[in-house]
């Protein structure tokens, strides 16, 4: 299963790209997606607190990703 993962802020800089295309076994959880992202981007391997989002809402690692879902991973927020 192919998933496009949106990256933001420091994660985007670490990956050198705003979107990563990854392959994960179907059905895939957000945790599996994140593991695949870390596999592809060594600089993110030590990340302890990634935030995960599915379809523009925060989601837990157990969430199962459906084809066409908008998936994103990013570091703790700091707006304001």
């Amino acid at each position: 299963m192919r998933v496009s993962v949106l990256l933001f802020a420091r994660y985007r800089e670490a990956a050198g790209a705003p979107i990563l295309e990854i392959e994960v076994a179907d059905p895939a959880t957000l945790r599996a997606v994140w593991d695949a992202v870390r596999q592809q981007v060594p600089a993110l391997r030590g990340e302890a607190r990634p935030l995960l989002a599915c379809n523009r809402a925060y989601a837990r690692p157990e969430t199962v990703v459906q084809p066409g879902d908008e998936v994103a991973v990013f570091p703790p927020v700091s707006g304001g």
Binding site: L6, F8, A9, R10, R12, E13, R49, L51, L52, A53, R56, A57, Y58, A59, R60, A72, F74, P75, P76, V77, S78, G79, G80
Partner: protein, 144 residues
């Protein structure tokens, strides 16, 4: 629901936020403006750069508006966040809440900016004379 929830690249204008929330049945408007400071933790800051996940950020700001409605009984809320490069003194975030009475307006405004800082997918990068650094908050993971 009334309200204005936006992530924008243009300068933020207080008039826009005020107009979005004001009305003849409301006696109180509270606002909060975050502006770019020239220092942080004793270090001189030259400018700030804000980055966002704009579509999700606007959804989250709207959600904060619904939380304000549930907790403080007013839906007259505007939350605007600017992204891009900002100079010292420029406004990065604007919150305005109108309510019948002042206590609700003041408490709701304070609540909204706290929530924004905790859950809106927006990030700040500080630029110094000799480099830059991403800021990252310490709030709990917002996942349900």
């Amino acid at each position: 629901m009334p309200g204005l929830f936006r992530v924008v690249r243009e300068s933020l204008r207080i008039e826009q936020a005020m107009e979005a929330v004001a009305g003849p049945d409301r006696g109180a408007i509270a606002t909060f403006h975050g502006t770019v400071r020239d220092h942080h933790d004793g270090r001189r800051v030259l400018r700030l750069e804000y980055h966002a996940y704009p579509a999700m950020a606007e959804d989250v700001l709207s959600q904060i508006g619904r939380e304000v409605q549930d907790r403080f009984g007013t839906g007259h809320v505007a939350i605007l966040h600017r992204i891009g490069v900002l100079a010292i003194g420029e406004t990065s975030v604007l919150v305005a809440v109108a309510a019948t009475h002042r206590a609700a307006a003041l408490a709701a405004c304070a609540y909204a900016i706290e929530r924004l800082k905790a859950i809106a997918p927006i990030w700040k990068k500080e630029h110094y004379a000799d480099g830059s650094a991403w800021m990252e908050g310490s709030a709990a993971d917002p996942a349900p």
